[in-house]
């Protein structure tokens, strides 16, 4: 049964990928890439990676196509030229692929419980994290504590992205007080759409909070929560326009929040250092190490959530601002 599911998902993935490769309509390609994201999220579920599936669904099928659609609205939807360099590219790709397939011949069989990947480092996470960290979701334990520094790096990457986007598109972000006749973005003439979305915005935010604080027990965590929270605001922006969204939360606040989340994460590490332990050693946060771990994870997940939500909103605002600029010119 699992094999059947596996094979059908994989073949759908291949079909989607080929569809993207041959399509010259970029809108269709982006749509397909969003489907690709959703399919791979499904695949991750069959591989027991529920946290990853959650993230991939919100990124691969959510934020990433959204930004691409915004870009297409600005740059146009059709490819102009047929593919160049097809033959040398094909050669290179076949060569790389052949090398990889050769490489897989010696790796342990798929699902083998005795593979080195399963027997060396991982058993400690599976057997000990319950007592060492004290939360059921091992992925959160590893993510936030054992490999907490990677996650710190991850937040910094998100922060680096927003610095780049602001540097490139920041000039079209509306400054305080500047009027924005953004009729283009307002879908307010769609009455049904408006009413339904208005109903949904608040539950989505609530769900974001649930994901944020329930990440210890089930799939979820700061990143997913941040994306979902941002999605609520983005829906609001789409319906009522950028200007209305800015009244709720303005760019300066978002910028400070984006930086604040990273600082919050780092300060947990610094507090641990001041208490005489190593950077990010949450044991130092409370008398009882397991409590300390718990506090540490809650705070850093909050930091991740704040930064991610602020960054996603800022990036969307920057793109939407560009779109408005453009509709002004034309």
């Amino acid at each position: 049964m699992e094999l059947l599911l596996d094979i059908s998902l994989l073949s759908m993935l291949v079909a989607t990928a080929i569809g993207i490769a041959v399509s010259r309509d970029l809108l269709a390609a982006v749509m397909l890439s969003s489907i690709y994201g959703l399919l791979s999220a499904n695949f991750f579920v069959t591989m027991d990676a529920v946290d990853v599936a959650f993230t991939e669904a919100s990124v691969g099928a959510g934020i990433s196509p959204l930004l691409m659609f915004a870009t297409l609205a600005i740059v146009g939807r059709f490819e102009r030229y047929p593919h160049q360099r097809a033959l040398p590219a094909l050669l290179l790709v076949v060569l790389t692929g052949a090398m990889l397939i050769l490489a897989t011949l010696d790796i342990p069989a798929f699902g083998d419980p005795n593979a080195p990947a399963q027997t060396h480092v991982a058993p400690r996470f599976i057997n000990e994290s319950g007592t060492e960290i004290g939360i059921p979701n091992m992925v959160t334990s590893v993510l936030a504590s054992y490999r907490g520094f990677d996650t710190f790096g991850e937040v910094t990457v998100v922060f680096a992205a927003v610095v780049g986007v602001l540097a490139l598109l920041g000039s079209s972000l509306p400054a305080a007080g500047r009027k924005l006749p953004d009729t283009l973005l307002q879908a307010s003439n769609h009455r049904i759409l408006r009413i339904v979305s208005k109903i949904l915005v608040a539950p989505i935010m609530l769900f974001a909070l649930y994901v944020q604080f329930h990440g210890d027990y089930g799939p979820g965590g700061g990143f997913q929560a941040g994306v979902i929270f941002a999605a609520a605001i983005i829906i609001y922006t789409m319906l009522f326009g950028l200007e209305a969204a800015m009244k709720v939360i303005n760019v300066t606040v978002l910028r400070v929040l984006a930086a604040f989340g990273v600082l919050l994460y780092g300060s947990v590490g610094l507090v641990a250092m001041l208490n005489g332990k190593n950077f990010l050693d949450y044991d130092a946060l409370a008398a009882d190490p397991v409590h300390g771990q718990h506090y540490g994870i809650i705070v850093i997940e909050l930091g991740v959530g704040i930064t991610v939500a602020a960054v996603m909103m800022l990036i969307y605002f920057a793109f939407a601002g560009r779109l408005i600029d453009r509709s002004h010119k034309s």
Binding site: I20, F44, A49, D51, S64, Q118, F125
Partner: protein, 123 residues
């Protein structure tokens, strides 16, 4: 034959990776390149996650009565990698918008042609 059954998963993933890689290098539209990059990266993620699957295991969330869990470590790595991927995509898309503003096109061919003209002028 047994190799086929125990490894077909990896091979399909490699085919996916290579389709993505092909789109990146062979196609001239910049947005398409980024889509290809996304597929390439997502397929690498699938490779990692496949490596963490244990036959008969369940999702790595502690629950009563379950003894066999899949490996959580690749999941953690890929969570990080997905975030890195979206960060790159966002930055790449903003670059594309600016390229469109300055060159009037998002086709590699047009941009290269514009570059070439400029170089000749300045020489």
């Amino acid at each position: 034959m047994s190799v086929l059954f125990s490894h077909y998963n990896y091979w399909v993933v490699i085919v996916l990776m290579m389709i993505g890689f092909y789109i990146v290098i062979a196609q001239g539209n910049l947005v398409k390149k980024l889509i290809g990059l996304n597929i390439f990266q997502t397929s690498v993620f699938i490779l990692y996650i496949s490596a963490g699957k244990v036959s008969g295991g369940t999702a790595p969330i502690l629950a009563d009565g379950i003894t066999l869990y899949s490996n959580p470590l690749p999941h953690v790595l890929i969570l990080t990698a997905i975030v890195v991927g979206i960060a790159t995509t966002a930055l790449g898309l903003s670059l594309i918008i600016r390229i469109r503003d300055t060159y009037g096109s998002v086709e590699e061919q047009d941009v290269r042609a514009a570059e070439g003209n400029r170089k000749q002028e300045s020489c």
